[in-house]
Symmetry: C2
């Protein structure tokens, strides 16, 4: 399956089982190639990738959000400098969202921008973060506050690699697909109510939803905000639980549950989440969550854009006083 993304730079997304073994086919390898990956990605994956190229280096960073730091960012840049990479060489990200964000920001800024290919290896990154061109690192605990909009030249998605994920990690990523269904594709949402989950269809249709939105509003001036459905409260839960007790997708699930007004949709969502062993509510302290919402850097003074879904497949942006969020929790 192939999706063409048309924005400031046009690029294809290729979804093909087993394509990790065949990356060479898609790439001009008559140049230096730097793979950036992390120590959670099975060694077999990056060894398989590296073995396909004659002129290939690899940088393995420690997994987790801390990889998105100035320190690791600078370290990657210095490695490229030491190995004399030019801006016509290539960086390949092989990993989840953290690796994609870090490697993408390195690619965006080394010699003012080098070629970048993303090979996401988690459900979360295959479904969501590998496309859209947002790359970034964190500073002083503030997520994604330094980065760029920088499009890859290719995204290669091999659903086979998801098999090595733990069930919890696998399901965690599916939440972004459920979100994509809720905001833009009823059929996609319905897929989650089937007995068997067709993961290729789920990835494909999720990416189509995201593509359509990103193409309209690459730099998030307006409509792209609807991708944040569930994320306003989701981010507050993430901060509250420090991503230990709940993963990103799990927090977004909690965030979607609280902002849904329609009881019927809420019931269907809860039932899907239960099937995936994902919590539909949590014990977070109400006042602390409210404080976190008030301090959210995305809020513009006293007002906030909350994304609402009252009909499956349709989202709207509602500008409201931050104080009004109280009623949801």
């Amino acid at each position: 399956m192939r999706i063409e993304v048309n924005c400031s730079r046009n690029y294809p997304i290729i979804i093909a089982k087993g394509c990790l073994k065949d990356v060479k086919k898609y790439i001009n390898d008559n140049r230096k190639i730097m793979i950036i990956s992390d120590d959670m990605v099975p060694q077999a994956y990056w060894e398989s990738l590296k073995s396909q190229f004659k002129n290939c280096d690899i940088k393995i960073v420690k997994h987790g959000e801390n990889a998105k730091s100035f320190e690791i960012y600078e370290d990657c840049l210095r490695t490229l400098l030491k190995l004399n990479y030019s801006r016509h060489d290539l960086i390949i990200a092989l990993g989840g969202g953290v690796v994609g964000d870090l490697a993408g920001f390195v690619a965006a800024t080394y010699k003012r921008g080098m070629d970048f290919i993303n090979i996401p290896t988690t459900t979360l990154s295959q479904i969501d973060s590998s496309i859209g061109g947002k790359v970034a690192i964190n500073v002083d605990g503030i997520k994604n506050c330094v980065g760029a909009f920088y499009q890859p030249s290719l995204v290669l998605i091999d659903p086979e690699v998801l098999k090595t994920l733990s069930k919890r990690h696998y399901n965690n990523g599916l939440v972004e697909a459920i979100k994509a269904g809720l905001i833009g594709d009823e059929y996609l949402f319905n897929l989650f109510e089937e007995d068997h989950l067709d993961i290729e269809q789920i990835i494909y249709r999720s990416l189509l939803v995201k593509k359509a939105i990103v193409e309209q509003d690459e730099k998030e001036e307006g409509i792209r905000k609807i991708l944040n459905f569930g994320h306003t409260f989701g981010h507050a839960y993430e901060s509250y639980y420090h991503l230990h007790d709940y993963y990103h997708g799990e927090c977004v699930a909690l965030g979607m549950m609280v902002v849904l007004d329609d009881e019927e949709i809420k019931k269907r969502l809860a039932s899907i989440l239960h099937k995936l062993d994902i919590s539909t509510s949590c014990d977070a302290n109400r006042n602390e969550i409210l404080n976190l919402l008030l301090n959210d850097k995305k809020a513009n003074q006293d007002m906030i854009d909350l994304i609402k879904v009252d009909k499956i497949g349709e989202a709207k942006i509602v500008n409201m006083p931050i104080k009004a969020l109280e009623k949801y929790i």
Copy 2:
């Protein structure tokens, strides 16, 4: 005078005597404004600028190439974070090329890109570096190796501010205008042979040359390289003299002198440089310069693109073995 630059982002350059006192007229100041400047810029300039806005902060960095470091870059970003700047707020660079490069890279990457206005205060930056969208910092002594192509939303040029420059600094910047004449505008080159230098015309016509080239090739894949006329050897001289004995423009002057084959043009250039008290030759060690050329990171393996001018106003790119550069020195 006004020039419209049309590239990935369109923006105007306004050249107007005294406009520094009147910046508010050109800017939406209904937001936070961070001025980034350095301690070589007269205090009266940034005080005048700051006094025009109600919600304005200022960051003064120590002047010189060292300001283009990871350390200062991070410090600027952390300042913006602490003061809770959003991506809809504004950064104004007030200073020479170093300040423009640093502030531009901060603006390019803070929250994935905020609004950026450049107010260059040196001849070098008014004539050359303030337009074209190249922003960058240095790493481990390698110039501009981390950065972005990021266009300002406005460039404001006040030729009045040049009055406080030393004569040497002033003339140093004019070299880029002489270069612009040589590669793209015979009339501009001729202006330097007049008794009185019309600085506004010189700035205006230099920017027109650069605009035309940048619009054709924003990301320096081809034709934009002709802006590097004189810079191949110029950069080698810069490295050799560490920018102590010779400034950037002075090194470019030396670099243009050595690559000119046409004796008539060479004579005219030498005569202009003499009038400006700029050296036309130096005592650099020939072998060391050759070694620096061989190690130039812009060289692609054994070949290099050398920019040649055989007729005033016309430049061409000649791909040649690096070894062939020997004959020029």
